[in-house]
Subunit: 391 residues, 2 copies
C-alpha cells in the first residue's frame, strides 16, 4: 500500500498497517512540514465541543480516550518523549462578557455529559497563580490534554520505519500514477487536488514564546481564554516554550500579519501578564485542511474503493490521529467499517475530479500540498506494492 503524506495522520496509518504486516510506502518530500509543524497539539475534545458539531465531538472524545494508550505504545516502540501532558485545560473568561460566552458553551458541554467543571476565581488562581487578577472566571476540563506535534511526527516516523514502512521523498501528483493495491490519501490540503474532494486551506497564525531563562513556563495547564472577544490558547511546554494561537482565516497565503500578532499577544498578555517578559521566538502561519462541515473525511473515495481518504481534520489533526489511524487500518486490514466512520464518509460530498490537475498548490512550507506530495513518476517501491489489497 501507498500512503500519500507523512504528517501525523499518514505516519500513524503507516505505522499501524506496517505493524500488521503490510508492506507500506509513504510518499512525502518534506515529512512533518505541514499543518502539524504549526499546530499547538491540544487534545481538547471538551473545550472544542461546539454547538452543532455533535458527531465531530463524539469522534474527538473517542480519539482523546485512545490517546493515553496511543502515547504509551509510541513510547514503547520508540523511546521518544512526545511531550504528552495531562494537567488538563483551564478555560477562562477575561471580562464579564467573555465569561458569559464561555458559560453558555460550558452548559452545552455539560449537557453532553462532558467533564467541564466551573471553578471559583479563588480555585482558578490556586491552580494557576500566573493568571491575571482581571480574569473573571473559568472552568477546568481535566481530560483535555496536550502533546508536542514537533516531537510527535519524528516519533511516528521512527515507529513506522521500525515496523517496516518505507518513506520516500518522491511526490505523488496524480492518483492514477499509483498502482499499489491500496492508496491512502493523508495529504492535508493537498487532498483536494488529488481527489477532487472539497478540502480547502484554512490559515492559522501561531506564535511561540520562550521563558527568558529557559526554565519551564510559570503555568502548567493549557489555558484557553476569551479575552475581550478574542479567542486565544496558551500551551506551556517543559522546554520553556509557550505556543500562542491561533487565527482561523479563510485564505491560503502564509504571511504573518501585524494585526494577527498584535491580537494574539494582547490576548495572551491580558490573560497571563508575565508572558510580556517572555521572548518572542517564532511567528508562523500554516494551512489547515478544512471541509464544508468542519469534520474530517475518512473512508473510501466514491467510485474508487481502493483509495482511502484521511484528511480534512481542520483544527483537530493531532487529537484525531489515533482514531483515524485505527479506523483506516481496520478498513484496510479487513476489519470492516466501524460505525464511528459513518458520519465522516467521503461520499457525503460531491467529487469534482476536474479540480485535481487544475488546482494551484498552496505556497511552499505550509502543508503537505499537492505539489509537495505529488509527482507523476512511479517508483520501484510503488510497483512492488501492486499486489497489495485493502482486505
Amino acid at each position: 500500500m501507498v500512503v500519500v503524506g507523512a504528517g501525523p495522520v499518514g505516519l500513524a496509518i503507516a505505522w499501524r498497517c506496517a505493524a500488521r504486516g503490510m508492506r507500506v510506502v509513504v510518499h512525502d518530500p518534506a515529512p512533518g512540514s505541514g499543518a502539524s509543524h504549526v499546530a499547538a497539539g491540544m487534545l481538547a475534545p471538551v473545550a472544542e465541543a461546539y454547538f452543532g458539531e455533535r458527531e465531530l465531538t463524539g469522534l474527538l472524545t473517542e480519539s482523546a480516550a485512545r490517546w493515553p494508550g496511543f502515547a504509551a505504545e509510541l513510547a514503547e516502540a520508540t523511546g521518544v518523549d512526545i511531550g504528552y501532558r495531562t494537567e488538563g485545560t483551564l478555560v477562562v473568561g477575561l471580562t464579564a462578557d467573555d465569561l458569559a460566552e464561555a458559560r453558555r458553551l460550558w452548559a452545552y458541554q455539560q449537557g453532553l455529559g462532558l467533564p467541564v467543571t466551573p471553578l471559583r476565581p479563588s480555585q482558578l488562581r490556586e491552580r494557576e497563580p500566573a493568571l491575571a487578577p482581571r480574569v473573571r472566571g473559568g472552568a477546568l476540563a481535566p481530560t483535555d490534554h496536550q502533546v508536542d506535534p514537533r516531537r510527535l511526527v519524528p516519533a511516528l516516523r521512527l515507529a513506522a520505519e521500525r515496523a517496516g514502512a518505507v518513506l520516500v521523498s518522491e511526490p505523488v501528483r496524480r492518483l492514477r500514477d499509483v498502482t499499489a493495491g491500496v492508496t491512502v490519501v493523508a495529504a492535508g490540503c493537498g487532498a483536494a487536488a488529488l481527489t477532487g474532494l472539497p478540502v480547502r486551506p484554512v490559515k492559522g497564525q501561531v506564535l511561540r514564546l520562550r521563558t527568558p531563562d529557559g526554565g519551564p513556563p510559570g503555568f502548567r495547564h493549557v489555558v484557553r481564554g476569551y479575552a475581550d472577544g478574542e479567542h486565544v490558547y496558551l500551551v506551556p511546554r517543559d522546554s520553556g516554550e509557550v505556543v500562542v494561537g491561533a487565527t482561523v482565516e479563510e485564505r491560503s497565503d502564509l504571511g504573518v500579519c501585524a494585526g494577527a500578532v498584535l491580537r494574539l499577544l494582547r490576548a495572551a498578555v491580558d490573560l497571563v501578564p508575565e508572558l510580556a517578559e517572555y521572548d518572542l521566538v517564532e511567528t508562523l502561519a500554516g494551512l489547515r485542511p478544512g471541509t464544508p462541515d468542519n469534520a474530517p473525511i475518512l473512508g473510501p473515495l466514491p467510485g474508487q474503493p481502493d483509495v482511502l481518504v484521511a484528511t480534512g481534520h481542520h483544527r483537530h489533526g493531532i487529537v484525531l490521529t489515533p482514531v483515524t489511524a485505527d479506523l483506516i487500518t481496520d478498513l484496510i486490514t479487513g476489519g470492516g467499517a466501524d460505525p464511528l466512520l459513518a458520519p465522516f464518509r467521503p461520499d457525503r460530498f460531491a467529487v469534482t475530479p476536474n479540480a485535481a490537475p487544475a488546482a494551484e498548490p498552496p505556497p511552499s512550507g505550509g502543508v503537505a500540498s499537492a505539489s509537495a506530495v505529488g509527482s507523476g513518476a512511479r517508483t520501484t517501491s510503488e510497483r512492488a506494492m501492486e499486489d497489495d489489497s485493502w482486505n
Copy 2:
C-alpha cells in the same frame, strides 16, 4: 591610520581620510552588523530635540544640515541609492494627553528656532490620509528626513574602498596592539573595553513590516507618535518596508520580548490602522552605544593623543555620521579642533583603563563589540601604517 569598527561612523571617517590621501585600514570582522543594522535611519534633529540637551541638539542640527551634501557626494562616489528621503516628519498625538505632551516639546523646539509647524487635524489628514481618525493633532518637522542604514553601510564601504581604504576582518582586542600613527575607535559599545570610557549598551527592539503586495506603504512621511503614552516611530521605505521602533532599555541582551512587540504594534496600529494588514517580517534587537550624558564622545583619548574616539552616538549614529566624519577627519589631517567638538570631548569623563580587558563582550550580532573588533594579532597592513600620524 587604523579605524576600529566598520559601522557608518567608522566607514565615513575612513572614506574622508582616504579621500585626503591617507592610508587607512579598517578593522571589523562583521561590517555593518552592529547598531546600524537595527537602526531606522531617521535624520531628525528637530523631533529629537529634548529638554536639557541643547548642545547635542546643536550637533544634530549641524549634522542634519550636512546630510544633503553628504548624500550627494556618496551617490556621486558610488552610484548607490541609499534611500535618502526628504518628505519630512509628522509628529502626532493620539489622545488629548499625548497631544499635550507633544505640544510642550514643540514649544521648546520652536523656542530654539527649530522648524516645527503645528497642523490642524484637517491639514494632518490631507498630508497623510492613512492616519487614524482618532489622532488628535500633530505637527510637521519638514527638515527631519530619513535614510536607509542597510543601504548606507554598503555605500560607505564602497566609497571608502574606492578612495583607497582597506577593510580587514582581523579584530582589534587591545589598542596597544595597534601601532599605526593614529587609531580611531569607532567601535560602538565595544569602545568601552578598548578605551575605558563609560560607553554602555542601550537595548532597542525594532520591528520591520512590509506591505502585503510589495508596493510602497500607504504613507510617505516618517510618523513619530505619542500613542497612549507610548512613543513610536514609523519609517516608510519605497521598497514596501516600514520600520517600527523602538524600545530604549538599560540592558545588554538581544532577546526580542513579547511585551515590547505588543507595545510597538499596538501603538503603530493605533496611529496607522492599515499597518495591521502588513506582514510582520522581522523582529530584532540591537545595542546602542550610550554615554552618561546621552551625547557622543568625539576627540582624543585623555593621555593618548594618537587615539581618537568617535562613539557614544546612542540613538543618533546615523544623523551624526557626516559631522562626526568631518570633525574627526579635520583633527587627523591637521585642521585642528572645531569649536563644535568642545562639549563632546572624551576628557569630560573619567577613564577606567582596567575595565578594558575584563569587560565581557555583549552577545554576538548586536553591535561591533570588543570581541567583534578586537584581536591581539598585528597584521601586515597595520605594520605598514606605523609611519602615519594624525596631523
